[in-house]
């Protein structure tokens, strides 16, 4: 398995415990939602073959204007947003989200998060976060997550 070409794009350094405080905001990340992201997220990444995520005719018949992001992709985008920020010494220990406005092609998904709690427990250092991904038509999802690393 050769992944040398990926290495420049991977993140090897991690967020330092002393460099984070409650109330810190993560850098905003914007991602364009297009049909490719919807279809590849559902079919390639998550093996979710439910047709409203890859077949516009089926989505329209179900009352939607277009195909829309599946929840596995939304969850994956949010999880990776957080772990791309904190780096590989941290583990995502929980993530919870509620879907609001569906994400359709042509929208921009703008994700933000805030550290709500910084604490130690059972030999681990933990951060609780709240996150939100906004579309032009309102929030696509809102949720909470916890990351941890050995103390």
């Amino acid at each position: 398995m050769t992944t040398d070409w990926m290495k420049p794009h991977l993140k090897y350094d991690s967020l330092d415990w002393d460099d984070v405080s409650e109330g810190d905001e993560l850098p905003m990340v914007a991602r364009v939602v297009d049909t490719s992201l919807v279809v590849l997220g559902a079919v390639a990444a998550s093996r979710d073959f439910y047709p409203v995520h890859h077949d516009r005719d089926v989505a329209v018949a179900a009352g939607a204007p277009d195909v829309f992001l599946n929840i596995l992709t939304t969850n994956g985008l949010m999880a990776s947003y957080i772990t791309n920020w904190c780096g590989p010494d941290w583990d995502l220990s929980s993530i919870s989200l509620r879907l609001l406005v569906p994400a359709f092609p042509g929208q921009k998904l703008t994700t933000t998060a805030t550290v709500t709690r910084r604490y130690e427990q059972d030999g681990h250092r933990l951060l609780d976060l709240v996150f939100c991904a906004e579309t032009d038509f309102g929030p696509h999802c809102k949720g909470t997550a916890t990351i941890k690393r050995a103390a």
């Binding site: 398995m1 992944t3 990926m6 290495k7 794009h9 991977l10 993140k11 090897y12 992201l37 590849l40 997220g41 390639a44 990444a45 998550s46 093996r47 979710d48 073959f49 439910y50 409203v52 179900a62 009352g63 599946n70 929840i71 596995l72 992709t73 969850n75 994956g76 985008l77 949010m78 999880a79 990776s80 772990t83 791309n84 590989p88 583990d91 995502l92 220990s93 929980s94 993530i95 919870s96 989200l97 509620r98 879907l99 569906p102 050995a150």
Partner: protein, 179 residues
């Protein structure tokens, strides 16, 4: 309080499937499909050299990806033990709640699945709404179930709670006439 109809749906709450082994063992190919779409930069998923000397002891799959190992094949249909939400699903579909949309999910990640190891999971029905809800898309019921994912030694990898809504799509016929 639920009616007789809802009581019939809710009698299945607590039912759990037999353990089901995922079709594919955790593999770098499926991980990479995930990583490429999510643009995930964690070397634990993509750099065998780094992962091998890390606390993971080798390449692992993202915890956020756990449900992917449970997804049904496109063809042919895979015979599965009776899933606990199937009778609820069928009853709602027959009653006209024909469309499904996911609304909520929550994952607790205990350990990361290792490349080469198969994942086993169970599914348990944890809730069905006790009354019909009026939603933007139409009248709906919410169904919640929980997956538990384990490694080949029986150790827990994580749990995932998942809620979907089954709704009766709104058509012009069902809309209130304008006053």
């Amino acid at each position: 309080m639920g009616t007789l109809y809802e009581d019939r749906l809710r009698q299945h709450i607590g039912n759990e499937s037999e353990p089901i082994e995922a079709v594919d063992a955790v593999c770098p190919q499926m991980i990479r499909h995930w990583v490429e779409i999510m643009e995930d930069r964690n070397p634990a998923y993509s750099d065998p050299e780094w992962a091998g000397t890390s606390r993971h002891g080798g390449l692992v799959a993202p915890g956020s990806m756990m449900q992917v190992w449970s997804m049904a094949p496109h063809w042919p249909e895979r015979p599965l033990p009776d899933l606990p939400f199937a009778p609820v699903d069928e009853a709602l579909e027959e009653a006209g709640y024909t469309e499904i949309v996911a609304t909520e999910q929550s994952q607790t990640i205990t350990a990361l699945a290792k490349v080469g190891e198969p994942v086993t999971f169970t599914v348990r029905l944890t809730d069905v709404s006790d009354s019909e809800h009026k939603t933007r898309l139409g009248e709906a019921y919410f169904v919640t179930f929980e997956y538990r994912f384990s490694d080949p030694r029986g150790d827990l990898l994580g749990t995932q709670s998942f809620t979907y809504m089954r709704y009766r799509p709104q058509t012009e016929d069902t809309e209130e006439p304008a006053a």
